[in-house]
């Protein structure tokens, strides 16, 4: 009997109790008491220091298509983000589960002060993943989350698709997560960025009335009960210095800024007047990067070198052409390639000037100085961005083997 207890019963007992501990069977919360939050919107309450946090909650898809999107939204107010989330829990009776929250939207009125005063809550707590995407939006964050969109029945999912899914390689959006935003804020450069989301109204077919009426509303829902639907544009980028919004990069500046961090494949670049053959017209040029170098060099003075070699192909030209020219391998004359080079160079210079004017070190020159020129760090650490001149070398080559 004792042998059985020692060799079989005790190990099994130990194993089972350990299993209970390691699988959290002591700490489970009933699923019906849990709100699985998939997105958070943060706004400042007018004339107050309080925050209004709107949580978009995952609810099972209703079989009735009249289910409105805003039904899955709850909001709470508080002096801190944690307080506002707690307010949601208190007023709804749901336990807010933040482990699946992949999107945090900041309303426009939160951008006037240091956003890290409340974004740091997502670094402080382990309840929310710091891989959550961070965006700012035009108007209120709550409105953005209640927006009806033809892209998905849940606006947060539609936004996530736009931000990081397949089209990310197009380099149009400077997507960033909480971790990377905070890394920029706490870096030597103290600079960060996030995409700025604007709503664009789209015309869609009127909703089909089923069963002769009743149960109005639209598919995908609408926050205000109307049939207005929107898509989202995140191609502009907000610049942050010490957590405060100090400026904005436009579409082209965002695209060229993204070339540094992301590999550029099938990136489209618009030229207004490009001379191809004998015609001058607007054209869309496909860009594929071959080689790139972004480096700070210090000889007499600091110089930031941007060297890019890009393969270009014609994606489309706004003029009628002969059938023999309707290929993406169409020859781009050298003159046109120089035009593209000049345009990209100009964009880089403009955006760098913008960064210098707003003192926002988005190219992390202070970090480059610390990492690669440590001996000169003390000399330049306070004003390296202002003292640095930019040297841009863009080389565009014809891409002859592009798929047609």
């Amino acid at each position: 009997m004792m042998k059985f207890l020692k060799t079989k019963f005790l190990p099994i007992l130990v194993g089972l109790t350990l299993l209970l501990f390691l699988t959290n069977n002591f700490g489970l919360i009933d699923i019906e008491k849990t709100a699985i939050i998939i997105a958070l919107g943060i706004d400042k309450v007018e004339n107050s220091q309080k925050y209004e946090v709107t949580a978009q909650i995952a609810v099972p898809q209703a079989t009735n298509s009249s289910k409105n999107n805003d039904d899955a939204l709850v909001s709470g107010k508080g002096a801190t983000i944690a307080d506002a989330i707690d307010d949601i829990a208190v007023t709804t009776g749901w336990y807010p589960l933040l482990a699946f929250c992949n999107l945090i939207v900041l309303g426009e009125n939160t951008l006037k002060t240091n956003v890290m005063t409340f974004v740091d809550e997502f670094i402080r707590t382990d309840k929310i993943p710091d891989s959550s995407l961070l965006v700012a939006c035009e108007g209120k964050a709550q409105d953005l989350l209640t927006t009806a969109t033809p892209l998905d029945s849940v606006s947060a999912f539609a936004l996530e698709k736009i931000l990081v899914k397949d089209i990310a390689k197009l380099n149009r959006i400077s997507f960033v997560n909480v971790k990377d935003f905070a890394k920029g804020y706490f870096s030597k450069s103290k600079s960060s960025y996030m995409p700025y989301i604007k709503k664009t109204k789209v015309e869609t077919a009127p909703p089909v009335q089923e069963g002769g009426g009743g149960g109005g509303g639209s598919e995908g829902g609408s926050g205000d009960g109307s049939n207005e639907k929107y898509v989202f544009d995140g191609t502009t980028t907000l610049m942050f210095k010490n957590g405060v919004n100090v400026g904005m990069l436009d579409e082209n500046q965002t695209l060229t800024f993204n070339l540094r961090k992301h590999e550029s494949i099938d990136t489209f670049f618009d030229m207004e007047n490009i001379k191809i053959g004998e015609k001058t017209a607007a054209a869309t040029i496909g860009l594929n990067e071959v080689k790139k170098r972004f480096a700070l060099e210090i000889k007499d003075e600091p110089v930031f070198h941007i060297e890019l070699t890009i393969k270009c192909h014609v994606e489309d030209v706004n003029c009628s052409e002969e059938v023999k020219d309707l290929f993406t391998t169409q020859v781009i004359p050298d003159e046109a390639l120089r035009q593209i080079e000049n345009k990209i160079e100009e964009i880089y210079k403009e955006s760098f000037k913008k960064m210098q004017q707003s003192d926002c070190d988005l190219y992390s020159l202070t970090d480059e100085l610390y990492k690669f020129h440590y001996k000169k760090y003390k000399l330049y650490k306070d004003d390296v961005l202002q003292k640095t001149s930019i040297n841009v070398k863009i080389k565009c080559e014809l891409q002859r083997n592009n798929r047609t």
């Binding site: 350990l18 002591f26 700490g27 990492k371």
Partner: protein, 357 residues
């Protein structure tokens, strides 16, 4: 007399439980002091401890596979040997505090949505008491199992994190003040001292050809994995590294691959929790063993019960003061650790071997 364990199992223990034990909180604390030079601080500790491990292996050769207790008994007498082993029993008890608290907090953060009562964690000591009861054989068998799952967990986590890592975050290497690097090494030394295991294992493993090389190569592999892991973590989190107290559940989460293949980052998280369950109980096994040598209890279960009861009581009392307790251990008590693990065995060089006892 227990049957001896294999050299292979010591090697596996070093590469699995000892390695993963340094991957939970140690990198964040090291980054707090050393910033981008955290891997150098880790390397300093690993080199110092590695040299002592080598010395203990040579001692094993010199004293013909006798146990450390037997060597002490014949060199300085029975009473002195018992005092030294009492010190080792106390050392291993204190040594166990940090990994057990890490394990408790790691499980609670990784698996629990709400903070559970400290009493929930006491189940761990039921396992630990059984593990101590099984002695070195238990460590050996767990090493045979842990090595494979630990290797899998480390590979998955590294694969997820590599694409997010910017190794330039580790710069500059030269020119920076060394003071912070050494302070970082000193204040995180409590996670090292693995050579103490080799010292107590003396005479308990089957000596085989090339065993010193095998154990030291395993130690080298452990050092390489730890240093690489520290470098990858800092490459991924940069200035935020010191906030990543439970690194395995933070790393690789923003890898875009997860959106298509699912949250496989949970797998290494669970694996680390499992391996650490064994890893954090290992010092208690050694403490039980030392206690048994000091007081020859009639029943084998008594030392494990005493050791685990003390450890459990310490956790219940000190769990709210973990930071303060850890600070005391890492900044003050660490000198005592070094004196017990390094200086006492080093003194054996100067003690003449008494063959006749």
């Amino acid at each position: 007399m227990q049957s001896k364990i294999n050299v292979r199992q010591i090697c596996f223990m070093l590469i699995s439980t000892s390695t993963i034990g340094k991957m939970i909180v140690a990198p964040a604390v090291t980054a707090r002091y050393s910033q981008e030079s955290l891997w150098i601080s880790a390397l300093i500790n690993l080199i110092i401890d590695g040299l002592f491990a080598l010395y203990f292996l040579y001692m094993n050769d010199k004293f013909s596979n006798r146990t450390f207790y037997s060597i002490l008994e014949s060199s300085v007498g029975k009473v002195a040997a018992k005092i030294v082993y009492s010190l080792f029993a106390i050392y291993f008890l204190f040594r166990a505090f940090t990994p057990i608290m890490e394990q408790k907090n790691y499980i609670e953060i990784a698996l629990y949505e709400t903070a559970p009562s400290v009493l929930t964690f006491l189940i761990f000591f039921l396992f630990s008491a059984y593990f101590c009861y099984k002695g070195f054989k238990g460590i050996a068998r767990s090493a045979d199992v842990c090595i494979w799952i630990a290797a899998f967990g480390i590979c998955v986590l590294t694969a997820l994190s590599v694409s997010l890592t910017d190794l330039s975050n580790l710069l500059p290497i030269v020119g920076v003040p060394l003071k912070n690097v050494f302070i970082g090494a000193k204040n995180t030394a409590v996670w090292y001292f693995d050579s103490a295991y080799i010292l107590i294992f003396m005479g308990h493993f089957k000596s085989e050809k090339g065993y010193k090389t095998k154990i030291m190569v395993s130690y080298g592999i452990m050092a390489l994995i730890v240093v690489t892991y520290f470098a990858i973590l800092y490459g991924e989190f940069a200035a935020l590294t010191e906030r990543q107290y439970f690194a395995p559940i933070q790393m690789g989460k923003s890898d875009v691959a997860l959106s298509s293949i699912g949250r496989i980052d949970y797998i290494p998280g669970f694996i680390y929790a499992l391996v650490c369950t064994f890893g954090s109980a290992i010092p208690l096994v050694f403490s039980s063993y030392c206690l048994k040598e000091v007081f020859p209890f009639k029943r084998k279960i008594i030392p494990p019960l005493i050791v685990n009861a003390i450890a459990a009581a310490a956790i219940v009392i000190a769990h709210d003061y973990f930071i303060e307790t850890f600070r005391f251990i890492s900044k003050t008590l660490v000198w005592g650790f070094a004196a017990i693990v390094y200086l006492i065995p080093l003194a054996l060089i100067f003690i003449k071997k008494r063959e006749s006892v």
